[in-house]
């Protein structure tokens, strides 16, 4: 019998979950990763992982409310069956991680402690100090090492995915990868390939992401025919420490444990923050959003912080934008739960955040968009377990999971949902791939002619040789910095069509200059220069998908905010006026949904991405306007519900 193998590319939470589950199902796995998997970007996740638990249940919570919070927070842009399934799995996943040895914080009685995160009113988040991602990753790493010792998993660390190998029918039969030390290029035959390669924050130059999060693997799959969805939805995290080399995340858990965001009420107030009396401070999130306070969803918190600095001139530091994130009033036991992140601030800023308010500003953080993947809906509205379609990209046999896919977070991700979506998609896709392999047995990759693999490898080998030997006047690091600047300026928190067009023109110029990039290292050993230059080409590819998707989408939805197309919310006043304004507003929102509540799909063509749109499955929870903290939210919701019961299209 021929041996069927699966390739997993990427060893973060998603890749390791898939690897361990496939191994358990008896499938041998080749795990490829740029870095030793224990150093994957998942280590940076801090705050926690969301799941309904015994405590929230007794407060009226259930899986359906988690599902509702997630799609409402995501502005209804995600297909609902996968989200429903994920939320149903939440408690099981946290229990599993607990059994595997994650040192979740405990209550005095010995149960898992829980904290509150953004976009929900329940304390749904389990955590291990402020290093939850690291703890989850290490635990999965340990399980995969166990399978490695048992011979079920082969690790190829320090290998870079260059592209899928497709047969004459366009089915994925393996991958080509390069060893980043010896620079050897070779093909790895497999019957299914899973991309678990994370987000693409490096396109924005400085972000909270690790230095390998270029999106290169996704871009290479895209060029080979995979579709890319909702690329324009990029999460900008409200609280990061601005830095010269990167922006460092300051977890939402800092606010979950009671941290408060404020600025002095008077512009240019240079007093020591602790000397400013509370009456002269503006806790602007709490003022505007009394219900959620500092824990409004990230897109909203980010826009408010941006606004208070840029438009209201209340930044707390001259010549730089930032606001205070204040933990000084918290008791020591809260500080202890946040130790990991307080340490980061102290090490990089040289100031103790236990006694001095931190200075923070938003930074690019997460890619909601990603490779388009399929799913099979179950009769109950979740996912059909064991369906080979779940998580499969537009290329048969090529799968995508974790941050590399687009499936779970819509227009805005809620904090502590990413660890859940990564582990969920990794675990859940495995039985489907197992079945895909069983169905595909008649055409196993090992039976294919060696020539298919050899010619795929030869193509990439030649491309590398050409790049390494190239003389040119342009410097890849300089181009990357310019790419990051233009993307950050025009395609992040506040977007205008004029600004995005300016960036697209810059991308034309950068692509042109990219063709003249010279190699600073012609060597065939640990050649980081050429490897970086190659990934820059991939970043340019995805930058265009992101920017053009943003240009086309003339609306505001979640993280995508274009003031030109904003529907001004009702201002209030007497109940009659408010009701009239609410009606006008709800009608505008409905028109917007009719036009734009759809998935952006990009497909590769040599002349640039081709765009199309797909309807979103919102069959379980009807879309409704997000009214976090809005004046007269109850009346708006009432008006909306009345409108929904009246059949027919929205009035024009």
């Amino acid at each position: 019998m021929v041996e069927q193998r699966v390739i997993v590319v990427g060893g973060g939470l998603a890749g390791l979950s898939a690897t361990m589950k496939l191994a358990e199902l008896g499938r041998p796995v080749d795990l490829l990763s740029l870095v030793p998997v224990k150093r994957s970007h998942s280590v940076c996740a801090q705050g926690g992982i969301n799941a309904v638990n015994a405590i929230t249940r007794q407060e009226g919570d259930n899986e359906y409310r988690h599902f509702d919070d997630t799609v409402y927070g995501g502005d209804f842009l995600q297909h609902q069956p996968p989200v429903k399934e994920m939320c149903d799995w939440g408690p099981r996943i946290v229990d599993l991680m607990d059994r595997l040895g994650v040192m979740f914080n405990r209550t005095p009685e010995g149960f898992r402690d829980q904290r509150r995160f953004g976009g929900t009113l329940f304390r749904r988040t389990a955590f291990a100090g402020a290093t939850t991602g690291q703890q989850l990753l290490y635990t999965l790493d340990e399980q995969v090492r166990r399978w490695e010792v048992m011979g079920r998993v082969r690790k190829f660390e320090g290998w870079e995915f260059l592209g899928p190998v497709l047969d004459d029918d366009g089915v994925c039969r393996g991958a080509v990868a390069q060893n980043l030390t010896s620079m050897e290029v070779r093909a790895f035959p497999a019957d299914a390939v899973i991309l678990a390669t994370g987000g693409c924050g490096l396109i924005f130059g400085k972000s909270t992401m690790s230095m390998m999060c270029t999106g290169a693997a996704a871009a290479r799959a895209f060029r080979a025919g995979a579709r890319y969805a909702n690329g324009e939805f990029v999460q900008v995290h409200p609280t990061a420490i601005p830095g010269a080399d990167k922006h460092r995340l300051m977890s939402e858990s800092a606010r979950g444990e009671g941290g408060r965001v404020w600025v002095p009420a008077r512009p240019g107030d240079t007093r020591d923050p602790l000397a400013i009396p509370p009456s002269e401070r503006r806790y602007f999130l709490e003022e505007k959003y009394p219900k959620y306070g500092n824990l409004v969803p990230r897109d909203i918190a980010t826009r408010e912080i941006f606004n208070i600095c840029v438009n209201e001139g209340l930044s707390v530091q001259r010549g730089e934008y930032c606001v205070y994130l204040d933990l000084t009033e918290l008791p020591p036991e809260r500080h202890r739960k946040l130790e990991g992140i307080l340490e980061i601030y102290q090490k990089f800023r040289g100031v103790d955040p236990r006694t001095v308010p931190m200075k923070i500003f938003p930074a690019v953080h997460y890619s909601m968009g990603g490779l388009w993947v399929d799913y099979e809906r179950s009769p109950s509205g979740g996912l059909a377990a064991g369906s080979p379609r779940n998580q499969m990209t537009a290329i048969p046999g090529l799968y995508a999971i974790g941050e590399a896919d687009y499936q779970y977070h819509g227009a805005n991700r809620l904090g502590a949902n990413s660890l859940l979506s990564c582990i969920f998609s990794g675990l859940f896709c495995a039985p489907g791939i197992d079945r895909y392999l069983a169905d595909a047995l008649k055409r196993s990759a090992t039976d294919l002619s060696a020539r298919l693999f050899e010619s795929a490898a030869a193509t990439h080998r030649e491309q590398f040789r050409l790049m390494a030997g190239r003389f040119g006047t342009e410097n890849p690091y300089t181009l990357h910095r310019e790419l990051g600047q233009t993307m950050t300026r025009n395609v992040t928190v506040v977007r205008t069509n004029a600004g995005i067009r300016e960036t697209l023109a810059r991308l034309d110029e950068l692509e042109d200059r990219y063709r003249r990039v010279g190699s600073a290292d012609g060597g065939g050993w640990a050649n980081q220069n050429v490897v970086f230059a190659r990934s820059l080409g991939d970043m340019l590819t995805l930058a265009r998908v992101i920017a053009e998707g943003a240009l086309r989408r003339d609306e505001c939805r979640g993280a995508h905010y274009k003031p030109e197309f904003a529907v001004p919310p009702p201002k209030g006043g007497d109940p009659v006026t408010l009701r009239a304004e609410a009606l006008r507003w709800c009608q505008a929102v409905r028109r917007q949904n009719e036009r734009w509540l759809k998935t952006t799909i990009a497909e590769f063509t040599p002349d640039g991405p081709a765009f199309s749109y797909e309807p979103v499955d919102t069959s379980l929870i009807p879309p409704r306007p997000r009214t976090y903290g809005m004046v007269g939210a109850e009346i708006i919701e009432e008006v909306w519900n009345q409108m929904q019961t009246q059949a027919g299209p929205a009035p024009r």
């Binding site: 870095v35 994957s40 595997l100 040895g101 290490y138 690091y477 600073a520």
Partner: protein, 251 residues
């Protein structure tokens, strides 16, 4: 004149090649760390003398001191490059910043070393919880005190500082180092992990195990995560004594 930062970097083109020093100068900015210096050098592509050279190879990942990638020897001390702030280095050690690869691991190129042996050591001490499977089953209850004891040990990022600083880590002893011993003790504390405790004790008693520890206590001083490594080693030592006696009596 524009203020600059000078870095002296020990380079090595190939594992079997000789090492040599090169000097680089980059423009000074406030809040630089060693990573941003290396990024500037990669972009610059030339030495302080203006000679065009291949960019310096180095490893980095998170830049937040949680991934362990960028560990190197900076001004003679092993640490992560991301948290090595230029202003602090200049104030503490003078005008030139010296970067060298760690010495206890084979050099791949320049500042990149191969820390594979640390991951092999984790296999040897069976650093995992041997669960029945990945299905939904009840979870163990863990006391708050036990969590608080274990949590610091779980933060080990396999960076290699403790091995670099340890005089006993060398070719002759084959010592696995403090990191792996501490991980063995972490899993021996876990209610399910401890079912493999004896296998871990046997691994720690074998050549290159705890017997090689010379009690220099350098490991705990250089650990960037303040992991109580010497406590783990002491606990391992006591546990091994009991295990050895029990094993002897059971014979």
């Amino acid at each position: 004149m524009e203020r600059t930062v000078t870095l002296q970097i020990r380079r090595q083109d190939r594992p079997d090649g000789p090492s040599y020093w090169q000097r680089f100068e980059i423009p000074y900015q406030p809040q630089l760390n060693v990573i941003s210096c290396l990024q500037a050098i990669a972009e610059l592509g030339r030495t302080a003398d203006g000679e065009r050279v291949a960019p310096v190879a180095w490893e980095c990942g998170c830049l937040e001191e949680v991934c362990g990638s960028c560990t190197m020897v900076i001004n003679g001390r092993v640490r992560q490059a991301c948290t090595a702030l230029v202003d602090e280095l200049l104030a503490a050690d003078g005008e030139v910043i010296r970067l060298e690869p760690m010495t206890k691991f084979p050099v791949v190129r320049d500042l990149v070393v191969d820390r594979g042996r640390m991951f092999e050591a984790l296999k040897r001490v069976r650093a995992w919880v041997p669960v029945d499977g990945y299905y939904d089953l009840p979870t163990p209850r863990i006391e708050q005190a036990a969590q608080q004891e274990s949590y610091p040990l779980t933060r080990c990022m396999t960076c290699g500082c403790c091995l670099e600083a340890c005089p006993q880590v060398n070719e002759h002893t084959g010592f696995i180092g403090a990191a792996a011993i501490s991980q063995a003790m972490l899993f021996n504390q876990h209610p399910v992990g401890r079912t493999e405790a004896e296998a871990r004790y046997r691994a720690l008693m074998a050549k290159g195990g705890i017997g090689e520890c010379g009690n220099a206590q350098n490991c705990v001083k250089v650990c960037p995560k303040n992991i109580p490594l010497t406590d783990s080693i002491a606990r391992a030592g006591r546990a091994l004594t009991f295990y050895a006696i029990k094993h002897y009596l059971d014979k």
